[in-house]
Symmetry: none
Subunit: 170 residues, 4 copies
DNA sequence: TATGAATGAGCATTCATTCAT
DNA sequence: CATGAATGAATGCTCATTCAT
């Protein structure tokens, strides 16, 4: 596997497993079985690595989007498997973004894209509601990293049920 | 003002304004106009400071809880003013908690308490739903630190509207 | 018990149990159940405490000296019980003495006194030999703190046997 | 000269000249004219540097051992020139070993080896006696750092004389 | 006497980054 | 492409000492 890809994969893994504070260049390089100097060779800086990871990762995610789900169950499973871990990664990027202006910009742009995608997935076209649903998914992702016993799956089912029928209300 | 309080206030301010990665002992002490050695004098360690801040802060928040709101508008205003900034603080603690086991424990406990409180505030007694609403608020708080233009207020109104009437659905 | 004495006892205990590098003022004060500020109140400085301890300790030791032993066994027991632990304390003082000129002076003086005392104890009047016997005892004390299985007692018996009859040689 | 070697030499020099309490990483690095970060680059930690120094130093010493001496004078000169300074280094390691468990282990092992070597050098095969002679040499080394006027050379001659003929006694 | 707040220097260690090879 | 030596700033933390109370 190419060195670039090894580093990007290791960076993602490190952020998710150890958190942003432990994601040093040397730690990531060690996880990738790669010399630490190559981070600068390929990405210019630590921030460069993370910006690239963010772009690549969320571009892929946005392209990957399946159009139709045969059932609500399938949709929930997709969100649980795809969106929740990605939201966790996002949370780590957010922590880093205070020190990394380029990452901060990229983050804001991708947050909007993800919000649109989640809205499309769940059939929501109102802005505030879309933000709300995205926020809920991100929040659940974050909470599950604080308290692993959190009933993320149940909450997602409830989230879907409620938003599906929210227009019937009132 | 007592030095302890100065440090606790500065720690909160620093986390919210500069993020967990910038919240070094010396930075916090400088913001508090206090000698950095006093952090160890009063709290034993950096983790000690944060654990104390977390406890104090959320104990106060939980006590502070108003019983009844005259209107939905008031409830929304309360959540916007109180819960959202506190949720932001929580997000910073979460980033730190990977390196700070005591903080991690404290965090999990307080997350449950906050979830119960938010459930009570919004009249929700189902566990999964309670988690969902809390997660949504935390997610909104986090997003607003990524994209300040995020319509947090509108989303909260929508959140409240939907959950108030969710039982009418189906 | 008077605070002074408590501190002196704790200082000795700390040096012997934890070594000179761990013998901080706060650690000693904690072991004495005494406020750390009192070290400066009574002894002026950390060095002052150690100088006083050294003086008091070895003055007492030198006064304590029993004149006659009924048997060689008794003499050996005395050396093992009294001289060896004191030699260990001496070793810790030596480590500190590099940073503490007053302690260094006091140390040199007491080393001579101890050498004389040990010489008297063992019936040795030659300077070089006296130094040699003292050095052997100090070395055994030090080695026993490196390797607790060291046969200190046996070596002391041998030491005594040899030096008692050294004049018969040649 | 290679940086590693510079650091090892400086560490030895620093321990012997300034004592274990002054042997900080920055002081050692300054003495070696080397960036302090390189201590961790090469040895992982301060303890790592000292463990390496101990191993290297005493392995070399043990290999270096000359088989036969033409006269007692030569043997005495060898002990004075080789063993005494090394024993001094050992004394400094002992002071550090309370805080450094790996160094403590290494120390105990090397003490046994040195004891065997000294025993061989002086033709002593009894365990307790071997310990005694080694302890005497270590004690003399330590005393000479307390009181430079100590007649180390004379004591060594006496040590040799006595132990050479100890079997004639009784 | 006794307390504990306060200070500033120093400690080992980590880190992103640079760069010669 | 790849390596690892080198750098200097920053990190959390410990310490002896001072001093107001």
């Amino acid at each position: 596997m190419a060195t670039r890809i090894k580093l990007l994969k290791a960076a993602r893994e490190c952020l998710l497993e150890k958190g942003s504070h432990a994601a040093s260049i040397k730690t990531i390089a060690k996880m990738a079985n790669v010399n630490h100097g190559l981070v600068h060779h390929y990405f210019g800086s630590k921030q460069g690595l993370f910006v690239e990871l963010l772009r690549l990762h969320f571009d892929t995610l946005l392209l990957d989007q399946p159009k139709d789900f045969e059932s609500d169950k399938e949709l929930n499973a997709y969100v649980l498997k795809k969106m929740v871990p990605n939201a966790r990664l996002f949370v780590e990027f957010r922590a880093l973004s205070y020190q990394m202006p380029d990452l901060a910009k990229e983050l804001a742009g991708n947050l909007r894209k993800l919000t649109m995608m989640i809205g499309a997935l769940m059939g929501i076209d109102d802005g505030a509601t879309r933000s709300l649903v995205t926020a809920a998914i991100f929040g659940l992702a974050m909470h599950s990293s604080i308290d692993p016993l959190m009933p993320v799956s149940d909450s997602l089912v409830e989230l879907h049920r409620i938003f599906k029928h929210r227009n019937l209300v009132e």
